[in-house]
Symmetry: C2
Subunit: 154 residues, 2 copies
């Protein structure tokens, strides 16, 4: 009975765990830091004060427009509250237009404006450069491997 592998479920922890655990070697720490570096590269290169999420919303909207706000959020992995803020700012800039859905009174139909299209065209090469810069420490094979591993844990 004594010396079992797990003590009283989650009440106490053996000193070994305390000693061995290092936050900065956990996957979560690396994911957070890697994302931070990517966002920093994006901010440094991208023009028009566009953020990563704004860019994601813009380019995804280009693919699937016209669509509803929540649908755009789902396709860009954003919460309903988050996508609303992003869309609001894009609308305020004149990049996105909104209209009520005649078929569904709940929906808010989104579409790109000419300015929105132009903003994408103006920055598309930079966006590609951001991806390339972020992956620059890796070989071509490593890049594919990283993408594949990240895809698996998403």
């Amino acid at each position: 009975m004594a010396g079992a592998k797990k003590s009283d479920s989650a009440s106490q922890a053996p000193a070994s765990d305390l000693e061995a655990y290092k936050v900065d070697q956990q996957i979560g720490f690396f994911l957070r830091q890697a994302n931070q570096r990517h966002v920093a590269i994006f901010s440094a290169l991208m023009g028009d004060r566009l953020t990563t999420t704004q860019w994601a919303a813009l380019t995804k909207l280009r693919e699937i427009q016209p669509t509803s706000q929540n649908q755009l959020g789902r396709d860009t992995a954003m919460d309903v509250a988050t996508i609303k803020g992003v869309v609001d700012r894009l609308v305020a800039r004149g990049y996105v237009a909104t209209a009520p859905d005649p078929q569904d009174g709940r929906r808010l139909i989104l579409s790109l404006t000419g300015e929105g299209e132009a903003a994408i065209a103006r920055n598309i090469k930079t966006a590609i450069a951001v991806t390339d810069d972020t992956l620059s420490p890796l070989t071509s094979g490593e890049r594919m491997m990283l993408i594949e591993l990240l895809r698996k844990i998403c």
Copy 2:
């Protein structure tokens, strides 16, 4: 002069780029999503309403205490403004104690309280489980590979 590889610097983009570019296949999108999933797993498993950054600050402080607020921020990859908010909330909970540095009037010395130590001990096993859950879709070899690739792009 006409037909150069890059048109007027950053003004226009070829249609090929516009067609080929998919946000949800870029490294930034995967990093953001993978981090989101990790945070979701952390929130679901971890007790005491601890966030990922609060946990990082607590456990790192345990390693290097006593230390200054900005130093803790550097060691946990947090901005000075960010670490301040995190520390403030940990202090409000009684997990962290602050004291002025007798040697340096600018510094705020941080250390763990007994409650802070207890919170770590109480949740350390869960933290390990969070890492394991996040990496559960991967084999042991893939996990090491992912960590290594992320380390390279940090």
